[in-house]
Symmetry: C2
Subunit: 224 residues, 2 copies
């Protein structure tokens, strides 16, 4: 992409853009690149600073992984969202590792971590932006934690199905039980059991590779 | 406490102190107060901005609570530590509620949230300090989450007992099973069962209102 192309995107996204010197804007653009990731591709595994990732199309999934390979989805990033946790060299106080995968075919703009960090050192506004983005995700993660630790499984699954349906604008959630379990940080068996219960109640219909919501009203009641 | 007293404390704690104007230093000191909290007292319940809390003596416990009153300890604050999550008005992107209790009789310096926020608006260095403090705690919380979600109970309990013993400098951890469970985000029954197993193995001795570590080497092996 051209310098002008990056500039156009960054001016929209970065509240600090017009407040920093022309040479720093130039520096950030010169240290930017466009990447396309196929669905399922691991983009970041915590082992190095992968840079600041900005989603242009598709979606990314951010998750934690245990030594045994168990995953907990923390949040997903869609068009216009930015991943700062993949840029551990920008924010020193982040000492935990996260993984990032492309959930669909995705196109991303990636700013080199050291370059963004250098710009942040020179411009407090850039540093504040980076930290505020990270702290905002802290809130997301706390919400996930609250869900996992405190909420009953029927409520969690109902919320997940409602959110998915609202997000895609479809009554059918085209995810396997295995995928739903992974997004929810649960086990496939638990999700299957609960979906069977929902189906018996006439709330959903379980299809091959998907779940169709039949009774929106009762599903909504379960989320309360 | 006098203006000079606060000034002495803040110069030690706040890396930004000498870099902000005298009038802002004065403003922060004038909006500071000393509070003493008896053991067990709830200091912050998320309903309002309680300000920036600096622990001078004693210790505070930060936790999440479910609708049903189940608690998960996120971390504890000791002498010199600072609580930024209790000052929701300073960091807008924090949208979750935490609770803070005095775990021992504690003396704290509290800076009014709105005053600190105003100083942060005028001085990027203050804002960066606040955000970095919050992001640092993000790492602590992720560690707790990893423990709770991924780690086996024997390992978690061994780590908890080792840490407690190291912290207090005593082989006896004077906490009830109920208290240990609360700190670990687990259930009393689970902790009691695991302590019984440790006792049968000769690793600990379970006393009334406490646990004495008998075999440090084996306890340490369990933490690995």
């Amino acid at each position: 992409m051209t310098r002008a192309g990056f500039e156009r995107v960054y001016r929209e996204i970065f509240s600090f853009w017009d407040g920093i010197p022309e040479e720093d804007r130039d520096y950030i653009c010169r240290n930017s690149d466009v990447f396309t990731y196929p669905k399922g591709k691991n983009i970041h595994d915590g082992s190095e600073c992968s840079g600041v990732i900005l989603v242009h199309s598709g979606s990314l999934r951010l998750y934690m992984m245990s030594d045994e390979g168990k995953e907990i989805t923390l949040y997903r990033l869609h068009k216009g969202d930015m991943c700062m946790l993949s840029a551990s060299c920008v924010i020193n106080s982040i000492t935990f590792d996260v993984f990032v995968d492309a959930e669909e075919d995705s196109e991303c703009y990636v700013i080199s971590g050291p370059a963004f960090a250098a710009a942040a050192e020179r411009n407090p506004a850039v540093k504040i932006f980076a930290l505020e983005t990270a702290v905002g995700r802290f809130s997301d993660v706390m919400w996930v934690m609250q869900q996992i630790l405190f909420m009953s499984m029927d409520k969690r699954l109902a919320i997940f199905l409602s959110d998915e349906s609202a997000r895609t604008g479809s009554d059918t959630v085209t995810l396997t039980h295995e995928q739903i379990a992974r997004y929810m940080g649960s086990a496939r068996e638990v999700v299957s059991r609960m979906l069977k219960y929902f189906a018996n109640e006439g709330i959903v219909e379980v299809l091959r590779g998907g779940v169709t919501i039949l009774d929106k009203k009762r599903l909504r009641q379960l989320t309360l």
